[in-house]
Symmetry: C2
Subunit: 308 residues, 2 copies
């Protein structure tokens, strides 16, 4: 397996120098890459190598970012806010009904102003928290793709930009898991987060991808979406999926381009992998999909639909 | 609840200017903090405010950082590596036996050289992966505090520095949950990560803290440890705990100083809160603690202990 550079810059022009220091450990650890030192001299004469060099310090980001986990459906909800803006405008991506109160408490505690509750697609495995959040925090607008055919305050399309303060997300159509799947990508520009962050929903998962056997899914479309819209992003772009079942929290475009066991294959192989997954019918789908078409409201009263 | 500045710099000297743009949404969203724009003109004459300003771009960090989750015990394992160093030396903090293979596969996939498998303390709720990792990846050294009285290749004390490449962690003694608890804090300096990151184990949890009723626990000590060693760090220091049960992944010193329901109280109130938790006896303690005293080896053969 090739070693990955990932999104990390190699330190250049570094000089090596020997710095006398003492060890609290066996000499086996005194290599150029590892060392345990005692802050106060212990009289040891052991010496060790340290890399000396210079590197620019990071600027403090204006983006407040939190990844939140819902254990039952293994769903990640993402909170993004521009804390450099006086109003601290915030977005919530893929909220879950069961954890809506947790998310709203965090938003209040951090003094943020939630403006959008957004979904990457109409989820089949959990009920979105969007409707609940709109009820509990009036003024919040729901956002989903036009292609999803779901009800929302704002329907977005490929190429749209969703601004919150001085920051924005780009909308990229990434159909294939469902017909309406989109990937939200942080903006490009000097005052936007670096590296970029892609919220891929179920289009691209860490070392995997969403199934393509319902809700207008298509292996051909998913393959094209990931390669043309996600793998086309800079390699250091951080991948934040809607789910992870193994406890991973993040990956990068560069990593998935080399390590994704499905999407590194050619399209024909990918399609046959997806055709032979033999997955069970999603247990939540008959509740979740109708509800998620109306912001997660689980009844279809005019009131609920009106406020969705 | 006061609004928190957290670790985010306010954008200064920003000028406002009107930029004609079109909306795909109701005018209700055309405030100074929120806006959805269509990349291609749609003939709308709506205009919106955007903040114009300059901000330094972030440098690309040399630290590779991954937070990994073990669902059963809600444990976070942390992977840190200096990918600016030719050897890509890496540390694993608080690995779990059940997820050791996942962690080692990730380390191999990323081309890292694992040098230390470390623990913040002798865990009572899960078996550490340290022993398994040492068996599966020879050359890896185990690290734990001297005060924990556990067996390890390197025992560290307050003030020690653990170097991996050009990066290092500071060891801070934070007893109270157990007598041997330490917090590992990323180094201070221009070529160290900014903001700093504190791996607090069970001393400080997000909006909580570890129990103090066994393994030499002491509410008085825990209160002193958190206030003198963790709350004394810069407010923007990121808090990465050993566990979270609600799906939070990170907090900051500034946040916990204002929002932690236990540690914002005076010591007397804190002690009485801790005295009255009435928690159940940890179901794993009788297996986990003896094993974790020997790097997680669940037998006490001389071979196991020798290789611990």
């Amino acid at each position: 397996m090739p070693s990955l550079r990932l999104h990390h810059q190699l330190l250049r022009h570094c000089r090596l120098s020997f710095i006398p220091t003492s060890l609290s450990s066996s000499s086996s650890s005194s290599s150029s890459s590892s060392l345990i030192t005692r802050s106060r001299p212990l009289g040891s004469t052991a010496s060790a190598v340290r890399l000396m060099g210079t590197m620019a310090t990071e600027s403090t980001p204006r983006l407040l970012f939190r990844q939140l986990f819902e254990k039952e459906s293994c769903t990640y909800t993402y909170l993004l806010a521009d804390v450099g803006h006086p109003e601290k405008p915030a977005l919530l991506l893929d909220p879950v009904d069961k954890t809506a109160d947790r998310d709203l408490a965090l938003i209040r505690d951090l003094g943020l102003k939630l403006i959008y509750a957004m979904n990457t697609h109409v989820h089949a495995d959990h009920v979105t928290g969007t409707g609940l959040i709109k009820t509990k925090m009036p003024g919040v607008k729901s956002v989903i793709s036009k292609a999803s055919q779901a009800k929302a305050d704002h329907v977005v399309e490929h190429g749209d930009k969703i601004h919150f303060g001085n920051l924005f997300l780009e909308v990229r159509a990434t159909p294939g898991h469902t017909l309406g799947c989109v990937t939200y990508v942080t903006g490009e520009g000097p005052d936007q987060p670096h590296p970029r962050m892609a919220f891929t929903g179920d289009a691209l998962l860490i070392r995997g991808c969403g199934r393509t056997d319902f809700q207008g899914g298509s292996s051909h479309q998913l393959y094209q979406s990931v390669h043309s819209q996600i793998f086309a992003l800079p390699k250091d772009t951080l991948i934040y999926p809607a789910h992870d079942y193994k406890g991973f929290t993040v990956s990068t475009v560069g990593e998935e381009m080399i390590l994704n066991p499905r999407l590194t294959k050619d399209e024909e192989t990918f399609t046959s992998i997806m055709k032979n997954l033999n997955l069970a019918y999603p247990k939540m789908i008959d509740v979740a999909v109708p509800a998620n078409l109306a912001c997660g409201f689980q009844d279809s009263t005019p009131e609920a639909r009106a406020s969705a």
